[in-house]
């Protein structure tokens, strides 16, 4: 059974690489309709779940006993007196889902009355699947949730407020969490999710390409001017074998644009944290976007079309010299890159030194009938011991709890630049990214206009003016 499931997961990953995942969702939405999609999702939930079974060492690259010693917290709520089953949704790759199964098996040993049914869904399909399940009233007890979706879900009342559970748990220590990690899961009423990671945007660089171009690796002396010079120098060739100096393209079509690309120039995308007004027409923003656009005009950054059918992250294929991405990009790069690569701090700009940070969390759904058992699970899973077991010792990275970082830095699976990620997270990382429910509308509207800049038919400044005109009415919805 486990083998068959692994095959399915592998197949899903392969389909995802080939861009088929969206088609799957489209087929659901278009052919069956909303109700049928909800029904299908419900059926999947019923049949696709995997009950926790001890994962053998041979199945996983991770030792199931590494980190198993804890110390595990004692939940303040009582253990269930009868067997309960918790359905928990994840969005892991096949390799990491095995670690998840290892954790669940150990958890069940510690809490014999709580049975775990883990549902693993490819990330690309996750949002649509669980949105459909939400409509059908078949959400699991505990849900994975990415920062970008959290406020929408919280606003719709899908998640339980966790403040009472946290207050009743004396050893929970909310201060242990990196402050930016909690931002997306709060509203004025309280906290609705417990983050497991908060990854800062780091500068991944292809060491082989750097050596070939005679460029020294990035260090403290680097500024964004140095990045630009290096990007231009690294750009070479043409056609399918072209090497790009830097990726991704700075675009208002990305919700994470501001901290790394605008803040260093004293500019901003919107007013944070309200996100009610566009600020791209301010002189500093125009200057910054013009500065970055020179790289695009020089052909040093790939356009969205260049990487559309390329598996994420495009950096792993070796034809991009520098790559700004959150630390969550490390596992696929480590797994697939056939070249030497390293990680450095995103360099400082003329006005500031900043990069973005973002992460994901787990939430307890409001419809659960086993809220206390769900809390027992979350309390274990996202405790220091849990984050060490799941994200630190595996080298997955950027645990949201500071206390789990030492184990991450010591992990044999952590990349060489891991200490720099911690430094970035505690010194230059900003969570001022578009994470309100209006985010997708804003970025879609902005990208449609920025495409004209990419096509060379619109200058940067009028484009930014058009973008602000288009997105201000959308942002205004955040004021209500």
């Amino acid at each position: 059974m486990a083998r068959r499931f692994d095959d399915v997961v592998e197949l899903a990953r392969e389909l995802e690489r080939r861009g088929m995942s969206r088609r799957h969702v489209l087929a659901l939405g278009a052919k069956l309709g909303i109700a049928a999609a909800a029904l299908t999702a419900g059926l999947e939930a019923a049949s696709g779940a995997v009950t926790a079974a001890p994962a053998r060492q041979g199945d996983s690259i991770f030792d199931p006993q590494a980190g198993a010693e804890g110390p595990w917290p004692q939940a303040a709520v009582p253990e269930p007196t009868e067997k309960v089953t918790l359905a928990i949704s994840h969005a892991w790759d096949a390799t990491f889902f095995k670690r998840q199964q290892q954790f669940d098996a150990l958890f069940t040993e510690r809490h014999p009355n709580i049975e775990i049914k883990a549902e693993n869904t490819p990330f690309a399909d996750y949002l649509q699947k669980y949105t459909a399940q939400a409509a059908g009233g078949t959400l699991p007890d505990i849900m994975y949730c990415q920062f970008a979706w959290a406020q929408q879900f919280i606003g719709q009342g899908l998640f339980q407020r966790l403040d009472d559970y946290i207050a009743g748990q004396p050893d929970f220590n909310l201060d242990d969490f990196v402050p930016p990690s909690l931002v997306s899961y709060r509203n004025e009423e309280g906290l609705y999710g417990i983050p497991y990671d908060e990854g800062p945007g780091m500068l991944y660089f292809n060491r082989d390409l750097f050596d070939k171009a005679g460029i020294a690796p990035p260090d403290d002396t680097w500024t964004l001017d140095t990045v630009k010079e290096a990007a231009l120098k690294l750009t070479s060739g043409e056609g399918a074998t072209k090497t790009f100096g830097l990726a991704p393209l700075p675009t208002p079509g990305a919700g994470t644009l501001a901290p790394a690309y605008l803040f260093p120039f004293g500019a901003a995308y919107v007013n944070e944290p309200e996100e009610t007004t566009c600020r791209l027409t301010e002189p500093a923003a125009v200057e910054a976007m013009t500065w970055w656009d020179e790289l695009r005009a020089a052909g040093a950054v790939p356009t969205p079309d260049d990487v559309r059918n390329v598996a994420w992250p495009a950096f792993q294929f070796g034809n991009i010299g520098m790559f700004l991405e959150g630390t969550w990009a490390t596992p696929p790069i480590r797994e697939n890159a056939k070249f030497n690569w390293e990680m450095a701090l995103w360099p400082k700009g003329p006005q500031a030194h900043a990069t973005f940070s973002a992460g994901s969390a787990y939430m307890i759904t409001t419809g659960t009938e086993n809220a206390d058992a769900a809390w027992i699970y979350l309390n274990d899973y996202l405790s220091t011991a849990g984050q060490r077991y799941m994200w630190a010792l595996t080298g997955r990275g950027s645990p949201a709890r500071l206390s789990a970082w030492p184990a991450y830095l010591d992990s044999e699976f952590a990349p060489a630049g891991a200490p720099l990620a911690q430094q970035a997270l505690t010194s230059i990382a900003s969570h001022e990214i578009l994470d309100k429910p209006t985010g997708p509308r804003v970025t879609q509207a902005a990208q449609a206009i920025w495409d004209e800049v990419i096509a060379g038919s619109l200058e940067v400044e009028p484009a930014l003016q058009q973008i602000c005109q288009a997105i201000d009415p959308i942002l205004a919805q955040n004021a209500s």
């Binding site: 088609r23 909303i34 399918a240 206009i449």
Partner: protein
């Protein structure tokens, strides 16, 4: 001709001269039962999986619903909102552009191919197979293949144009050329229509050509006055079905361009999907779906009206 009209093919239950239904014999009743038994699977499937969502989607279109919470009634608000939505009208224009372009080009190309493959030459079966083969390739593979063919920097098409001294356009990267690129890509699937044309061509009675030859008709007159009229029901069928399919098309577009650049390939189906699953605006998405349905029905109805003037049904001639 092997394509009688629908009216000629569907025979109502016989009636007496007074108009009363004639009582069926045992054999006829058995046939009738068998008929209902065979179509019942489809009817049950339709009622269970399609009819409910269709009705529900109309009701949803009258609400503001994020899919996550309770819907709130807005009446015709979503339809009114459409009138002020410039992106909707752009998507509508793009949908027509794609429909007219892909169907027009597809009909002409597949018909010409069918004419070509209707010749008696050695190895014709092989040629037919080769030309039909692309139609069986999965849509996703087609999308990835054509993304590369149309790539302005290293695509096969621009490389070929460069050989002719032509500086190829930006295709999918260019807001002006992305839709022509997609229309060109849609030719990949003409094999299906080509087979239908081929079957139609082989059903044109030879005696009509012989009679035309006796009357002194050359190749062009035979084509214009025999082939085209006799093939008109097939052409009509392919135009209607092609239009309905192309107006709903969005899977390949989603993969190849995601509606970009600058919304130049954003079609109604994709805009609907975006509203439903990216913006969680199910009410508005449902309203778009209903407008799309009305547009398809209107165009189909227009085609049927126009068909009276150019489609020739041999079976109707006796009436």
């Amino acid at each position: 001709m092997a394509f009688p009209s629908v009216a000629a093919r569907v025979r109502p239950r016989p009636r007496s001269e007074a108009g009363a239904r004639v009582k069926l014999g045992r054999q006829a009743r058995r046939e009738e039962l068998a008929f209902y038994a065979f179509i019942s699977l489809w009817i049950v499937g339709f009622l269970l999986f399609d009819a409910g969502p269709i009705v529900a989607s109309f009701l949803v279109s009258l609400t503001n619903w994020s899919l996550l919470g309770d819907p709130t009634w807005v009446g015709g608000g979503n339809y009114q909102r459409m009138l002020d939505d410039a992106v909707f009208f752009k998507a509508l224009r793009n949908t027509f552009y794609y429909g007219v372009g892909s169907v027009g080009l597809g009909v002409v190309t597949s018909f010409l191919l069918a004419l070509l493959l209707n010749q008696s030459v050695r190895g014709i079966a092989l040629f037919r197979t080769i030309f039909y083969l692309p139609a069986v390739v999965s849509g996703i593979a087609v999308a990835i293949l054509w993304t590369n063919i149309l790539h302005p920097d290293y695509g096969l098409l621009n490389a070929g144009l460069a050989r002719l001294g032509i500086d190829g356009p930006g295709w999918l990267k260019s807001p002006d050329w992305s839709m022509p690129g997609l229309i060109l890509m849609s030719l990949w699937g003409v094999g299906g229509a080509m087979v239908i044309y081929l079957a139609g061509l082989q059903s044109v009675p030879q005696h009509l050509y012989e009679a035309a030859a006796l009357d002194g008709a050359g190749a062009w007159r035979k084509f214009r006055d025999v082939t085209i009229p006799m093939m008109s029901p097939v052409i009509f069928y392919n135009v209607v079905v092609g239009f309905i399919t192309s107006l709903q098309g969005f899977v390949l577009i989603l993969i190849m361009t995601d509606g970009g650049p600058a919304n130049s390939t954003l079609v109604l189906g994709l805009y609907l999907y975006r509203n439903a699953f990216t913006f969680f605006d199910l009410g508005y998405a449902s309203a778009i779906a209903w407008v799309l349905l009305v547009v398809i029905m209107a165009i189909t109805a227009l085609q049927f009206v126009a068909a009276r003037y150019w489609v020739y049904y041999e079976a109707d001639q006796g009436r």
